[in-house]
Amino acid sequence: MTTQMAGAAQAGTLFPGLARPISITQDRAGAETMTGRTGHAMRVEELSAWYGAHQAVRAVTLDVKPRTVTALIGPSGCGKSTLIRCLNRMHEVTPGSPRVSGKVLLDDRDIYAQGVDPVQVRRYVGMVFQKPNPFPSMSIYDNVVAGLKLTQAPRKSELDETVERCLRQSALWDEVKDKLRQSGVSLSGGQQQRLCIARALAMKPHVLLMDEPCSALDPIATYKIEALMTELKREYTIAIVTHNMQQASRVADYTAFLLAGDKGYGELVEYGPTAELFTTPKDERTEAYITGRFG
């Protein structure tokens, strides 16, 4: 993983504030979860997703390993966005009669089990979207703690501390620390996306999902966010969707390649450590995609 170590080192020099010791994640009541030291993991088992009668994803099984970046790649329409939206139960809020079957385990707890409220799931599985979506009616400060204020009743000091911590973690603090009260939309695209990352981090999620986080950004902003991912995975478990193979090879530890067949639904073709998938793919379709024979 030399590229990643190099990346981390670069990130460390570009953003000195990021060099921090790994922290133990603590849940409510301060108790450590069993996975606190090793990080949180997700496991997708035989997941299928539909929009009404149209099936988008079929029987996918893969792991999102703790404290790694797992990338979902594949051509447009292969269902990777649908798949990642199933991981925090956002699929069910899309219009078009969405439906899901299968299991998604967050640390051995099925988020689709009976009686589990998606609201609770999303508290622990955060998401950053393709197009940055800060709330225009809120200041930068309020944007960061928007979720936190709802799910807990934090004191002002906790809020201040969270805002600084999360903005530092998303490498935005120095750029906005003097204008925290300004509107969230007064920033550039790349800054807005980092604000959205900070907003997700404020919830101390067990897993952070990113749906093509850089596709609406310029190359420099993209680079900054990729460096961010490399730094964040020391503390968080991350899954990203990307249509950019090079990005996957740069940031991801594990990669899953999905492809939509003639029947119109996406299936998992291959999943493994990124280096292996890119240098010695086991499936000929993977090889065809990686070598650019189709996109």
């Binding site: 849940d27 069993m34 640390d107 051995d108 409220d117 609201v119 799910t151 067990h206 493994g272 499936d283």
Partner: protein, 308 residues
């Protein structure tokens, strides 16, 4: 087809310590939030229910109280003095139709013409002013329009209450509605259609009259019918201009009956029979407006241009 997956993770060696927290188990704050969310959902549903229920409350009473008044005499006879049984709103129906026809005679050409101007020629400051004034007139309280026509036509020019004045007031109310609809509908006609005709050497006025207008026919009819539906129910301006008439009359220079005015006169009188007739007339009015609305839907083929 082979999917390579790494073997499922072996459960890590559990350190002796606190048991796994069930992170999805609700705490008190979550329960409060969820209850609040559900309560608000119910409240919001109730609001929708109220909004819908009111319609049926009103329509229901109009039907229940109005239908008993309906018979042939109701439609054909004139109102009789109190004490005499029978009678009807015949003059009011005739009057309403007459006044609306005259109003349309003036309002439709002016409204359509103005709409054509704004859509085909309307790019300068003049057009902006016309649009702005159109919106102002559209937003005028109808009683103010009534006072205007009362002061100008009834008090000054004609000298007495007259059907013609009522028609003028209704025309003023109709014009902005037609104007807005026509402009909008004409704008929707694709430019390529105009360009194709112009490229054939057809003069612009023929392009508009012969190509653009016919293709927007449905929308224009909708606008006209919408304005008629609105005009049919206007009462205040008519009270101030035509006053009302107990007798059948074609004479536009004299007071003329109209359905909404008749409703009012019947309703405020102290006689129960007349109250029933008021409900009956209200029923007739609703039916007329309902028919006109159905017509608009038919004209547009049921297609809606806005998001629900």
């Amino acid at each position: 087809m082979s999917s390579q997956t790494i073997a499922p993770p072996v459960a890590p060696a559990a350190p002796a310590g606190p048991p796994l927290l069930d992170i999805f188990a609700p705490d008190s704050r979550y329960t409060l939030r969820r209850t609040a969310s559900n309560a608000m959902a119910v409240l919001i549903g109730v609001c929708a229910l109220i909004a819908v229920a009111v319609l049926w409350l009103i329509l229901g009473y109009v039907i229940i109280r109005g239908v008993p008044a309906l018979n042939v005499a109701f439609f054909t006879e004139r109102p009789l003095p109190y004490g005499e049984p029978g009678g009807g709103i015949g003059p009011a129906i005739l009057g309403s139709l007459t006044i609306m026809a005259v109003a349309a005679l003036a309002g439709v050409p002016l409204g359509v013409g103005a709409g054509i101007y704004l859509s085909e020629f309307g790019r300068g400051r003049f057009a902006w002013i016309v649009r702005f004034c159109g919106d102002l007139v559209a937003g005028l309280p109808s009683i103010v329009v009534g006072v205007f026509v009362w002061a100008l036509l009834v008090k000054e020019i004609i000298g007495n209450f007259a059907g013609f004045a009522g028609a003028a007031a209704l025309a003023i109310i109709m014009i902005p509605i037609i104007l807005r609809t026509v402009e909008e509908v004409l704008r929707l006609v694709p430019h390529s259609l105009r360009e194709a005709a112009l490229a054939l050497g057809v003069p612009q006025w023929k392009v508009v009259m012969g190509v653009v207008l016919p293709s927007a026919r449905a929308g224009i009819i909708t606008g006209v019918v919408l304005s008629l539906a609105r005009a049919a129910g206007e009462t205040a301006p008519l009270i101030l201009t035509t006053l009302g008439n107990q007798f059948f009359s074609w004479d536009l220079k004299q007071p003329m009956a109209a359905i909404p005015v008749q409703i009012y006169n019947y309703a405020v009188a102290p006689y129960d029979d007349w109250h029933t007739k008021a409900w009956g007339a209200a029923f007739v009015l609703i039916v007329i407006i309902g028919l006109l609305s159905v017509l608009t839907r038919l004209a547009t083929g049921g297609t809606r241009r806005t998001a629900l």
